[in-house]
Protein backbone atom coordinates (compact mmCIF):
# COMPACT_ATOMS: atom_id res chain seq x y z
CA UNK A 1 0.00 0.00 0.00
CA UNK A 2 1.15 3.53 -0.75
CA UNK A 3 2.76 5.26 2.19
CA UNK A 4 1.45 8.48 3.61
CA UNK A 5 3.96 11.16 2.60
CA UNK A 6 3.83 14.80 3.65
CA UNK A 7 6.20 17.44 2.35
CA UNK A 8 6.66 20.75 4.16
CA UNK A 9 8.24 23.24 1.78
CA UNK A 10 8.35 26.78 0.45
CA UNK A 11 8.12 27.82 -3.17
CA UNK A 12 11.47 29.59 -3.04
CA UNK A 13 13.80 26.88 -1.74
CA UNK A 14 15.81 24.92 -4.31
CA UNK A 15 16.04 21.71 -2.24
CA UNK A 16 12.24 21.69 -1.84
CA UNK A 17 11.89 21.61 -5.60
CA UNK A 18 14.44 18.82 -5.81
CA UNK A 19 12.64 16.74 -3.18
CA UNK A 20 9.29 17.07 -4.91
CA UNK A 21 10.87 16.29 -8.27
CA UNK A 22 12.50 13.19 -6.75
CA UNK A 23 9.17 11.96 -5.37
CA UNK A 24 7.42 12.58 -8.70
CA UNK A 25 10.19 10.79 -10.60
CA UNK A 26 9.61 7.78 -8.36
CA UNK A 27 5.81 7.95 -8.69
CA UNK A 28 5.34 8.66 -5.01
CA UNK A 29 2.16 10.49 -4.12
CA UNK A 30 2.53 13.17 -1.50
CA UNK A 31 0.71 15.99 0.17
CA UNK A 32 2.54 19.32 -0.06
CA UNK A 33 2.28 22.05 2.57
CA UNK A 34 3.63 25.49 1.68
CA UNK A 35 4.78 26.63 5.12
CA UNK A 36 5.30 30.20 3.89
CA UNK A 37 1.53 30.49 3.31
CA UNK A 38 0.09 27.96 5.72
CA UNK A 39 0.76 29.06 9.27
CA UNK A 40 -0.74 25.96 10.88
CA UNK A 41 1.45 23.70 8.75
CA UNK A 42 4.51 25.80 9.64
CA UNK A 43 3.77 25.36 13.36
CA UNK A 44 3.17 21.65 12.85
CA UNK A 45 6.52 21.31 11.07
CA UNK A 46 8.35 23.25 13.78
CA UNK A 47 6.74 21.12 16.48
CA UNK A 48 7.66 17.89 14.74
CA UNK A 49 11.26 18.84 14.06
CA UNK A 50 12.19 21.57 16.52
CA UNK A 51 13.68 23.54 13.64
CA UNK A 52 12.62 25.79 10.78
CA UNK A 53 14.62 24.55 7.80
CA UNK A 54 12.81 23.21 4.75
CA UNK A 55 12.19 20.79 3.14
CA UNK A 56 10.86 18.41 5.79
CA UNK A 57 9.36 15.04 4.92
CA UNK A 58 7.00 13.07 7.07
CA UNK A 59 6.90 9.50 5.75
CA UNK A 60 4.47 7.51 7.90
CA UNK A 61 5.73 9.39 10.95
CA UNK A 62 9.41 9.21 10.09
CA UNK A 63 10.70 12.77 9.95
CA UNK A 64 13.46 13.65 7.51
CA UNK A 65 14.92 17.14 7.40
CA UNK A 66 16.51 18.17 4.12
CA UNK A 67 16.85 16.33 0.82
CA UNK A 68 18.48 13.26 2.33
CA UNK A 69 18.09 10.93 -0.63
CA UNK A 70 19.38 7.81 1.14
CA UNK A 71 17.05 8.14 4.11
CA UNK A 72 14.10 9.01 1.89
CA UNK A 73 14.74 5.94 -0.25
CA UNK A 74 15.03 3.73 2.82
CA UNK A 75 11.84 5.12 4.35
CA UNK A 76 9.94 4.58 1.12
CA UNK A 77 11.46 1.17 0.48
CA UNK A 78 12.86 2.24 -2.92
Amino acid sequence: MAKNVKVYSTSTCPWCIRVKQFLKDNNIEFENFDVSQDRAAADEMMNKTGQMGVPVLDIEGEIIVGFDQERIKAALGL
Partner: protein, 303 residues
Amino acid sequence: MKTYDLIIVGAGPAGITAGVYAARGRMDFLIISLDVGGQAAWSGDIENYTGYQFISGIELMEKFQEHMRQYGMAFKEKEEVLEISGSGNLIAVKTDKEVYQCRSLIIASGKRSKELGVPGEKEFKNRGLTYCATCDGPLFSGKDVAVIGGGNSALDAALQLIKIAKHVYIVHNARDLSGDAIMIQKVRQAPNVTVIDDSLVVAVSGGRFLSGIKIRSASAERDLAVQGVFVEIGLVPNSAFFPGIKKNSSNEIIVDSRNRTSLKGVFAAGDVTDVPEKQIIVAAGEGAKAALGAFKFLATGRF
Protein backbone atom coordinates in the same frame (compact mmCIF):
# COMPACT_ATOMS: atom_id res chain seq x y z
CA MET B 1 41.22 2.49 -10.34
CA LYS B 2 39.78 4.33 -13.30
CA THR B 3 41.53 7.53 -14.38
CA TYR B 4 39.18 10.19 -15.74
CA ASP B 5 40.30 12.72 -18.35
CA LEU B 6 38.79 15.41 -16.21
CA ILE B 7 37.06 15.90 -12.88
CA ILE B 8 35.04 19.04 -12.25
CA VAL B 9 34.46 20.00 -8.62
CA GLY B 10 31.27 22.02 -8.27
CA ALA B 11 28.02 22.26 -10.22
CA GLY B 12 27.23 25.96 -10.22
CA PRO B 13 27.35 28.11 -13.36
CA ALA B 14 31.12 27.60 -13.77
CA GLY B 15 31.14 23.82 -13.18
CA ILE B 16 28.12 23.05 -15.34
CA THR B 17 29.34 25.21 -18.22
CA ALA B 18 32.71 23.46 -17.99
CA GLY B 19 30.76 20.19 -18.15
CA VAL B 20 28.91 21.26 -21.29
CA TYR B 21 32.20 22.04 -23.03
CA ALA B 22 33.82 18.84 -21.75
CA ALA B 23 30.86 16.77 -23.01
CA ARG B 24 31.06 18.43 -26.41
CA GLY B 25 34.81 17.67 -26.45
CA ARG B 26 33.94 14.02 -25.76
CA MET B 27 36.07 13.95 -22.66
CA ASP B 28 35.62 11.16 -20.14
CA PHE B 29 34.74 13.25 -17.14
CA LEU B 30 32.93 13.40 -13.83
CA ILE B 31 31.28 16.23 -11.93
CA ILE B 32 31.34 16.08 -8.13
CA SER B 33 29.25 18.54 -6.15
CA LEU B 34 27.29 19.01 -2.96
CA ASP B 35 24.47 20.72 -4.85
CA VAL B 36 23.31 21.93 -8.26
CA GLY B 37 23.26 25.60 -9.15
CA GLY B 38 25.48 26.77 -6.32
CA GLN B 39 24.80 30.26 -5.10
CA ALA B 40 22.88 31.02 -8.31
CA ALA B 41 20.11 28.68 -7.17
CA TRP B 42 19.59 30.86 -4.12
CA SER B 43 19.46 34.12 -6.05
CA GLY B 44 16.08 35.80 -6.17
CA ASP B 45 15.66 37.57 -9.48
CA ILE B 46 18.30 37.44 -12.20
CA GLU B 47 18.06 40.16 -14.84
CA ASN B 48 21.60 40.19 -16.22
CA TYR B 49 22.11 36.73 -17.72
CA THR B 50 22.15 37.19 -21.48
CA GLY B 51 19.16 35.70 -23.24
CA TYR B 52 16.94 35.96 -20.20
CA GLN B 53 15.52 39.39 -19.51
CA PHE B 54 14.23 37.95 -16.31
CA ILE B 55 14.69 34.56 -14.70
CA SER B 56 14.61 33.39 -11.08
CA GLY B 57 17.57 31.56 -9.58
CA ILE B 58 15.49 28.39 -9.30
CA GLU B 59 14.42 28.49 -12.95
CA LEU B 60 17.98 29.06 -14.11
CA MET B 61 19.08 26.11 -11.96
CA GLU B 62 16.46 23.93 -13.63
CA LYS B 63 17.70 25.04 -17.05
CA PHE B 64 21.25 24.11 -15.98
CA GLN B 65 20.07 20.67 -14.91
CA GLU B 66 18.28 20.15 -18.20
CA HIS B 67 21.49 21.02 -19.98
CA MET B 68 23.42 18.51 -17.88
CA ARG B 69 20.85 15.79 -18.51
CA GLN B 70 20.87 16.47 -22.26
CA TYR B 71 24.55 15.56 -22.35
CA GLY B 72 24.13 12.67 -19.90
CA MET B 73 26.93 13.91 -17.67
CA ALA B 74 28.28 11.61 -14.98
CA PHE B 75 27.37 13.42 -11.81
CA LYS B 76 28.11 12.62 -8.17
CA GLU B 77 25.71 14.79 -6.25
CA LYS B 78 25.70 15.42 -2.50
CA GLU B 79 29.30 14.32 -2.32
CA GLU B 80 31.76 16.52 -0.52
CA VAL B 81 35.35 16.85 -1.67
CA LEU B 82 37.60 16.56 1.35
CA GLU B 83 41.08 16.64 -0.14
CA ILE B 84 42.79 17.01 -3.49
CA SER B 85 46.43 16.16 -4.02
CA GLY B 86 48.90 15.67 -6.84
CA SER B 87 49.26 17.48 -10.13
CA GLY B 88 50.29 16.83 -13.70
CA ASN B 89 49.15 13.46 -14.95
CA LEU B 90 47.67 12.08 -11.79
CA ILE B 91 45.45 14.01 -9.47
CA ALA B 92 43.64 12.34 -6.58
CA VAL B 93 40.25 13.61 -5.41
CA LYS B 94 39.10 12.28 -2.07
CA THR B 95 35.44 12.76 -1.14
CA ASP B 96 33.35 11.74 1.85
CA LYS B 97 32.39 8.61 -0.10
CA GLU B 98 35.20 7.63 -2.46
CA VAL B 99 38.58 8.39 -3.99
CA TYR B 100 38.81 9.28 -7.69
CA GLN B 101 41.70 10.04 -9.96
CA CYS B 102 42.05 12.15 -13.06
CA ARG B 103 44.52 13.62 -15.49
CA SER B 104 43.13 17.15 -15.32
CA LEU B 105 40.95 19.00 -12.86
CA ILE B 106 38.69 22.04 -12.78
CA ILE B 107 37.89 23.52 -9.40
CA ALA B 108 34.59 25.38 -9.58
CA SER B 109 33.50 24.97 -5.98
CA GLY B 110 32.31 28.52 -5.48
CA LYS B 111 31.77 30.35 -2.25
CA ARG B 112 29.61 29.90 0.80
CA SER B 113 28.18 32.21 3.45
CA LYS B 114 30.56 33.47 6.05
CA GLU B 115 29.57 32.59 9.60
CA LEU B 116 29.42 34.97 12.53
CA GLY B 117 31.59 32.76 14.72
CA VAL B 118 29.74 33.60 17.93
CA PRO B 119 28.25 31.42 20.69
CA GLY B 120 24.81 30.05 19.82
CA GLU B 121 25.25 30.33 16.06
CA LYS B 122 25.52 26.59 15.40
CA GLU B 123 22.91 25.72 18.01
CA PHE B 124 20.28 28.03 16.52
CA LYS B 125 21.01 27.42 12.87
CA ASN B 126 17.64 26.56 11.28
CA ARG B 127 16.00 27.33 14.60
CA GLY B 128 15.75 31.02 13.84
CA LEU B 129 19.20 31.69 12.41
CA THR B 130 19.65 31.35 8.68
CA TYR B 131 21.94 32.33 5.84
CA CYS B 132 19.22 32.49 3.20
CA ALA B 133 16.49 35.12 3.28
CA THR B 134 15.08 33.89 -0.03
CA CYS B 135 14.47 30.39 1.32
CA ASP B 136 13.57 30.96 4.93
CA GLY B 137 12.19 34.50 4.94
CA PRO B 138 8.54 33.50 4.54
CA LEU B 139 8.63 31.55 7.82
CA PHE B 140 9.15 34.79 9.72
CA SER B 141 5.93 36.55 8.79
CA GLY B 142 4.80 38.89 11.53
CA LYS B 143 7.98 38.37 13.57
CA ASP B 144 10.82 40.68 14.55
CA VAL B 145 14.04 39.83 12.76
CA ALA B 146 17.61 41.07 12.46
CA VAL B 147 19.72 41.14 9.33
CA ILE B 148 23.43 41.07 10.09
CA GLY B 149 25.60 42.95 7.60
CA GLY B 150 25.54 46.23 5.70
CA GLY B 151 26.41 45.33 2.10
CA ASN B 152 24.27 44.50 -0.90
CA SER B 153 23.35 40.98 0.13
CA ALA B 154 22.25 42.25 3.56
CA LEU B 155 20.18 45.01 1.97
CA ASP B 156 18.66 42.53 -0.47
CA ALA B 157 17.67 40.31 2.46
CA ALA B 158 16.27 43.31 4.34
CA LEU B 159 14.21 44.41 1.34
CA GLN B 160 12.70 40.93 1.06
CA LEU B 161 11.99 40.83 4.79
CA ILE B 162 10.32 44.24 5.16
CA LYS B 163 7.38 42.82 3.24
CA ILE B 164 7.13 39.77 5.49
CA ALA B 165 8.37 40.51 8.99
CA LYS B 166 6.93 42.86 11.58
CA HIS B 167 10.15 44.75 12.19
CA VAL B 168 13.58 44.44 10.59
CA TYR B 169 16.75 45.49 12.40
CA ILE B 170 19.88 45.84 10.29
CA VAL B 171 22.95 45.36 12.47
CA HIS B 172 26.29 46.17 10.88
CA ASN B 173 29.76 47.08 12.04
CA ALA B 174 30.50 50.21 9.96
CA ARG B 175 29.40 53.81 10.29
CA ASP B 176 27.33 53.69 7.09
CA LEU B 177 25.63 51.03 5.03
CA SER B 178 27.85 50.09 2.10
CA GLY B 179 25.48 48.73 -0.56
CA ASP B 180 24.04 50.36 -3.69
CA ALA B 181 22.56 53.82 -3.14
CA ILE B 182 19.17 52.81 -4.54
CA MET B 183 18.87 49.89 -2.12
CA ILE B 184 19.96 52.00 0.85
CA GLN B 185 17.29 54.53 -0.06
CA LYS B 186 14.59 51.85 -0.21
CA VAL B 187 15.66 50.46 3.16
CA ARG B 188 15.70 53.92 4.76
CA GLN B 189 12.21 54.67 3.43
CA ALA B 190 10.67 51.49 4.82
CA PRO B 191 8.54 52.19 7.90
CA ASN B 192 9.54 48.99 9.73
CA VAL B 193 13.34 49.14 9.56
CA THR B 194 15.85 50.23 12.20
CA VAL B 195 19.50 50.45 11.19
CA ILE B 196 21.96 49.87 14.01
CA ASP B 197 25.39 51.16 12.97
CA ASP B 198 28.83 50.38 14.40
CA SER B 199 27.70 47.23 16.16
CA LEU B 200 28.78 43.62 16.36
CA VAL B 201 26.73 40.58 17.21
CA VAL B 202 28.46 38.79 20.07
CA ALA B 203 25.98 36.04 20.93
CA VAL B 204 22.79 34.36 19.78
CA SER B 205 20.41 32.94 22.36
CA GLY B 206 17.02 31.38 22.95
CA GLY B 207 15.19 28.31 24.16
CA ARG B 208 13.81 25.77 21.73
CA PHE B 209 13.97 28.50 19.08
CA LEU B 210 16.03 31.66 18.83
CA SER B 211 14.69 34.57 20.84
CA GLY B 212 17.40 37.21 20.87
CA ILE B 213 20.88 38.45 20.10
CA LYS B 214 23.44 40.35 22.10
CA ILE B 215 25.03 43.26 20.26
CA ARG B 216 28.04 45.31 21.21
CA SER B 217 28.90 48.87 20.18
CA ALA B 218 31.83 51.03 21.31
CA SER B 219 29.87 52.32 24.26
CA ALA B 220 27.60 49.50 25.33
CA GLU B 221 26.35 45.96 25.09
CA ARG B 222 22.65 45.27 24.82
CA ASP B 223 20.10 42.58 24.05
CA LEU B 224 17.78 42.72 21.10
CA ALA B 225 14.66 40.55 21.12
CA VAL B 226 14.25 38.96 17.69
CA GLN B 227 12.92 35.60 16.54
CA GLY B 228 14.89 35.53 13.31
CA VAL B 229 18.51 36.28 12.42
CA PHE B 230 19.66 36.51 8.81
CA VAL B 231 23.44 36.40 8.50
CA GLU B 232 24.64 38.29 5.42
CA ILE B 233 28.23 39.24 6.19
CA GLY B 234 29.84 38.08 3.01
CA LEU B 235 31.23 34.91 1.49
CA VAL B 236 34.26 32.66 1.79
CA PRO B 237 35.70 30.50 -0.99
CA ASN B 238 35.35 26.71 -0.78
CA SER B 239 39.07 26.11 -1.27
CA ALA B 240 40.25 24.51 1.96
CA PHE B 241 40.30 20.99 0.47
CA PHE B 242 43.28 21.87 -1.71
CA PRO B 243 46.13 22.92 0.54
CA GLY B 244 48.85 22.66 -2.12
CA ILE B 245 47.47 25.29 -4.48
CA LYS B 246 48.33 28.99 -4.55
CA LYS B 247 45.68 31.29 -3.08
CA ASN B 248 45.41 35.01 -2.36
CA SER B 249 44.92 36.53 1.09
CA SER B 250 41.14 35.91 0.84
CA ASN B 251 41.78 32.20 0.13
CA GLU B 252 40.65 32.55 -3.47
CA ILE B 253 42.53 30.30 -5.89
CA ILE B 254 44.86 32.35 -8.09
CA VAL B 255 44.32 31.80 -11.82
CA ASP B 256 45.83 33.34 -14.94
CA SER B 257 43.88 34.51 -17.99
CA ARG B 258 43.66 30.88 -19.16
CA ASN B 259 42.28 29.67 -15.82
CA ARG B 260 45.51 27.86 -14.99
CA THR B 261 46.41 27.54 -11.32
CA SER B 262 49.83 27.10 -9.75
CA LEU B 263 49.67 23.33 -10.37
CA LYS B 264 50.04 21.56 -13.68
CA GLY B 265 46.78 20.19 -15.04
CA VAL B 266 44.70 21.99 -12.45
CA PHE B 267 42.35 24.74 -13.63
CA ALA B 268 39.87 26.80 -11.62
CA ALA B 269 36.84 28.87 -12.54
CA GLY B 270 34.14 31.05 -11.04
CA ASP B 271 33.72 32.52 -7.59
CA VAL B 272 36.32 30.29 -5.94
CA THR B 273 39.02 32.09 -7.98
CA ASP B 274 40.53 35.56 -7.78
CA VAL B 275 38.73 36.61 -10.98
CA PRO B 276 37.59 40.17 -10.25
CA GLU B 277 33.84 40.04 -10.85
CA LYS B 278 31.58 37.54 -9.11
CA GLN B 279 28.67 37.22 -11.52
CA ILE B 280 26.74 34.22 -12.82
CA ILE B 281 27.58 35.05 -16.40
CA VAL B 282 31.25 35.63 -15.62
CA ALA B 283 31.44 32.30 -13.78
CA ALA B 284 29.83 30.52 -16.75
CA GLY B 285 32.31 32.09 -19.16
CA GLU B 286 35.24 31.18 -16.93
CA GLY B 287 33.98 27.59 -16.77
CA ALA B 288 34.01 27.42 -20.56
CA LYS B 289 37.57 28.77 -20.68
CA ALA B 290 38.74 26.28 -18.07
CA ALA B 291 37.24 23.30 -19.94
CA LEU B 292 38.80 24.40 -23.22
CA GLY B 293 42.11 24.84 -21.39
CA ALA B 294 41.89 21.34 -19.91
CA PHE B 295 41.04 19.93 -23.34
CA LYS B 296 44.14 21.56 -24.89
CA PHE B 297 46.31 20.43 -21.99
CA LEU B 298 45.23 16.80 -22.43
CA ALA B 299 45.68 16.97 -26.19
CA THR B 300 49.12 18.58 -26.17
CA GLY B 301 50.53 17.88 -22.71
CA ARG B 302 51.47 21.55 -22.51
CA PHE B 303 50.21 23.58 -19.59
